[in-house]
Symmetry: C2
């Protein structure tokens, strides 16, 4: 085991400056042009200014259906003294777009003309056809003159311009059939690691399915480059060096994924140093610290960390600007909106944190809610609407702080998102899916903070609705007492979603023979708990109290999960022997289940949003959609006899 | 010549409602799914919800480089009472990502551990290796537990979701190698017209280069569909009918381009009626009135007008929603910003006009300036930043009215655009191109309204700078007197760009033997004038006055063009025999030139923007860039001895 590489903590800003200076001074950018057919140039970038070779139109043509005339022949025509123009000599029928016959210089619209022969008032011979006009034409009226659209030699597109559909029309119209566009930047992606396997391989413990290179390849494509992914390279410094050297011949930039840290099998920094130069190793960001910036045989080489969120963030920070610069394009900056944080965020000073957040519009306010912060949680990026940067010098933000959010989704989608904060139920995921299917414009975003957290979010105006299942012991009724107590001055409508079974989830076959809460006292049993404020935690604590069990006696009581699936997953994977969750979660993971209670799960909706179109759409699905009901029933353990029914209103 | 088709004037809103109702009720949408490799699914749309097949990670793994331990073995360790754990039995080295050995349930970071043998304090045998720890581990610390990222059976992506790079990672991580995505909508595009020719063909008068189908194809691609372009079909109703029938077999929607009006060769409406049903023909929009909505053998068929702007606008209005609906996606709406109109816009009531505008940020204000309104001017779309809709009931807007602009370019680009309003010079186009090349982030947008119009725009805060060449007869100096008079209370810096030659542009060889302004009196000479307020018009009027010529005597004096190139083009194409313009414009079109005056062309810059980065970049190019100077000199007729010099400051 070789150690001895210590990674730095260079401030992000300094690292970006260094990288920009190096790439600006040492790369030939932008790339040279290549000729492509204009038809195939969509989204490519002009390598030269495009000037028109011909005018458009390139002949005078009629802008109307009508008659081409010489305007001088029309002088004196009026309602009282109509004038006849001989067809063929003085007037010629033209359709829109037809060239004007030589010598003609105006068009009279067909609607303003009578076809006639020489009979009747005005001059003209009886054997010929005429048009009769009642007012003079002005020079060049209704004529598309040469160059009306584009004048030959005119600048059609500047250099460094990304071609849009209309640009393609203009370039063709200007007489071009091919176009010089920048060669696409070639970006080599080298996945490394002896443990990585390709998707679809037979999996064994210790294998890691390689997908980072697929995410990074897709980003390269989106940014206008071409990704050259190599076969995975095992943790062998000579093989990694060879791969870097080979890639540096073929590509404009080389990306080595993983092995960028300082572990015993992290060879990337040494491989870059051994083939070229390491400019920097380690920056003060989180996630993404162990990034490596290097230079090998005239090409930029980046060592990208292995955790998927770290990989995504560092690739955006360091690879994206290079790919744009190679194309002669400005680096697009993400749109930033201001939002209010729904919860406090503590952050360790000394590192700039890239916090993933969900963003929702509730009334006038944009609310940002942090999602998982783990560098290994790719789903935090999938679920996120944006990123909040917590500065290196900061210890975090208090709840309610206004923060800038770099958006990952268009603001329009945010406006069309229903914000549901509170207790989780698997039926909510189905509801989200049916909503999206039936109303593609809308989506349901749910944050799982427990029933109490949901009602607090409603109170603070941070959610449209909250899922809740809190039993009031005095009345024996669910939710109503808590709404009265916590939200006395808000108009709330409480609508039932489901009744569901809660119970102790145990491994298949119940190997430890758990029969109920009383078994939690056993020292051979490890419990997994739910977080304080969740309805399920309330049910746990109430059950323990009734049995006179001191939570202090229970192993694992301190270990909290945030969702039913989290509890079931902990049981499945042996982290715990049992935990309280809904039947659907046990069914989903094929676990056994000891029923404890049948409980009511309602949605508390802020009444002011009932007329909102997206909330109406949601209620319509809850109340009427057969697919949704069928899907809920097939989860197991649900009773939907009151689905959509108003249980309480205030 | 058959006539007899009269097109309607259906209100746009009614037409959109009718079309939506028909497509919703008569199409099978969204389209069915097809399996594709996950790697190739970027930007495709999920046809089913995607659930995880496996958890990620699917085994407990170390989140750090360090030692896997059983947390129970670590109890009691402290700084004072360090504990030794035997390597192999009680502790095992793990790299980040390594699976935890069976039975181990915590990881201690390598930095917190001393490797040691049994010697020294603490228990342990001298012949074995140990790690020494100084505090206990908590259960599952530094462990990525199974399902930390994705729990098996969890919803990874909903149906109708367009795949982003991170989604591809999540789907692979969830155990998938293929994915069911919506089949891409197939859109048949049938270009029609006996006069159309393919790009690159030998051109003769009357030919129209076919490019609409290339613009529409590119839009189809951008919207996620596949364009099936057929060979052009001549104006023959039977051939058009056959093409529609064939396309309706192969595609999900059929687009017939042009022939949608009511002229003698407009067969599209009859061809649709003859193969299916015309739902509607003609809507109250401008441009784009003669659109046809039809239905043939279960497929939507749209007759799209031939003018390029009409084609673009109607395709966006009627084809785009169908293409998105077929994919199960919401129809994206363009972002709308509010801007102030820089000029009055008159519009004919009864038609909703789609006005193309340039948009610029000058100080705090966003300013929208209309560009050409012709349906045939594709460059109006190329140059436009957005579209302002003038409602059907409106007679237009006054200057200064705040209007909503549907944006065609990202707002970031608008913010980085220098707004130059005023007199035109060919050197400005070169400057725009060099700016874009050297600073891809910035662009220079120039509106050509003449010198006077430019100074007025500066006064009203609608431009950063203005090109101007106005000779004050009293002082004999250019521009200064006008700035003093028109902008007495603005801080202005006047910087020279070029000295240039103005003269009479005449056809090659000067066939009418024009020697100077005195020849304009001749009745065989047609003049082309510049608009009032332009410096060139001032020069014309001054020259005529000095010669004692009454403008009323000059044929064509009333006919105004807005640019030097417009004047030169009119001479080239025979619209006029001569006009006053700069030498560069005559050179560009290979025309002859009779010098009249050498004049100074300056840029008047509002001093408050001198520190602005984009203005600094522009001045740097003017003052220092050799490429720019070389390009200006090669245009001909320019003297750049004072380029970049401050001529006046107030």
């Amino acid at each position: 085991m070789k150690k001895g590489i210590y990674i730095e903590n260079t401030p992000l800003e300094k690292a970006l400056e260094l990288w920009e200076a190096k790439t600006m001074s040492s790369m030939r950018a932008p790339l040279e042009g290549e000729a492509v057919p204009v038809f195939e140039s969509l989204d490519r970038v002009t390598a030269d200014a495009v000037f028109a070779l011909i005018s458009s139109p390139f002949y005078h043509s009629s802008a109307m259906d009508g008659y081409a005339v010489r305007f001088a022949d029309t002088f004196g025509a009026s309602e009282l003294t109509p004038k006849k123009l001989a067809l063929g000599e003085q007037a010629a029928y033209v359709d829109t777009g037809d060239p004007l016959p030589e010598g003609f210089n105006a068009v009279i619209m067909i609607e303003e003309v009578n076809r006639t022969n020489g009979h009747g008032p005005g001059e003209g011979a009886a054997d010929r056809e005429y048009i009769e006009i009642t007012r003079p034409a002005t020079p060049w009226q209704h004529v598309r003159v040469i160059g009306e659209d584009i004048v030959s030699t005119e600048l059609v597109l500047p250099e460094n311009h990304r071609l849009r559909p209309v640009d393609i029309g203009a370039v063709i119209s200007g007489g071009h059939t091919t176009l010089s566009v920048r060669r696409r930047p070639l970006i080599a992606l080298i996945p490394t690691g002896s443990e990585i396997v390709e998707p679809g391989a037979e999996l064994k413990k210790g294998d890691i399915i390689e997908y980072n290179s697929r995410v990074l390849s897709s980003l390269v494509t989106q940014w206008g480059g071409v990704a050259l992914r190599t076969a995975p390279v095992p943790d062998d410094i000579e093989k990694i060096k060879a791969a870097i050297l080979d890639a540096s011949e073929r590509a404009d930039m080389v990306i080595v994924n993983a092995g960028s840290s300082a572990g015993s099998e992290d060879y990337t920094a040494r491989a870059i140093a051994g083939t070229g130069e390491v400019l920097l190793h380690g920056i003060n960001i989180k996630p993404g610290k162990p990034v490596i910036l290097g230079w090998v045989r005239g090409k930029p080489v980046i060592g990208i960390p292995g955790y998927p969120v770290s990989a995504y963030i560092t690739f955006n920070l360091f690879a994206k600007p290079v790919i744009y610069r190679l194309q002669g394009l400005p680096v697009p900056r993400p749109p930033v909106i201001n939002a209010r944080l729904s919860r406090q965020v503590a952050s360790s000073p000394g590192q700039e944190e890239f916090l993933r957040v969900k963003v929702g519009r509730v009334g006038k306010d944009l609310i940002a809610t942090p999602v998982s912060r783990g560098a290994g949680v790719l789903m935090s990026l999938v679920r996120a609407d944006g990123i909040v940067r917590v500065p290196a010098m900061s210890e975090g933000f208090g709840a309610g702080t206004e923060v800038g959010v770099e958006m990952l989704r268009p603001e329009e989608e945010i406006e069309n998102t229903i914000v549901c904060i509170g207790s989780h139920d698997n039926a909510l995921d189905l509801l989200a899916n049916v909503l999206r299917k039936k109303y593609p414009r809308y989506s349901l975003s749910s944050a799982h903070v427990g029933s109490m957290g949901g009602l607090v979010a409603l109170k603070k105006g941070e959610a449209h609705l909250a899922g809740t299942h809190m039993l009031d012991e005095k009345t024996g009724e669910y939710n109503v007492a808590y709404i009265k107590r916590l939200l006395p001055d808000r108009k709330i409508v409480l609508i039932n979603l489901v009744y569901r079974q809660q119970g102790l989830v145990v491994p298949k076959g119940n190997p430890r023979n758990i029969r109920g809460f009383e078994d939690l006292k056993r020292q051979d049993i490890v419990f997994i708990n739910r977080q304080g404020g969740s309805g399920t935690r309330l049910l746990t604590d109430k059950s323990l109290m009734e049995l006179g069990i001191d939570p202090g006696e229970i192993r694992g009581y301190q270990h909290e999960e945030y969702t039913h699936m989290g509890v079931a997953s902990a049981v499945l994977t042996g982290i715990a022997d049992t935990g309280l969750a809904i039947l659907a979660s046990a069914r989903a993971l094929d676990l056994d289940f000891i029923p404890v209670a049948n409980e009511r799960y309602d949605l508390a909706i802020a009444a002011e949003y009932l007329q909102d179109e997206k909330i109406s759409a949601l209620l319509e699905i809850i109340r009427e959609d057969r697919d949704f009901r069928g899907a809920v029933m097939s989860l197991g353990g649900y009773d939907i006899s009151d689905i959509g029914k108003v249980m309480y209103e205030q």
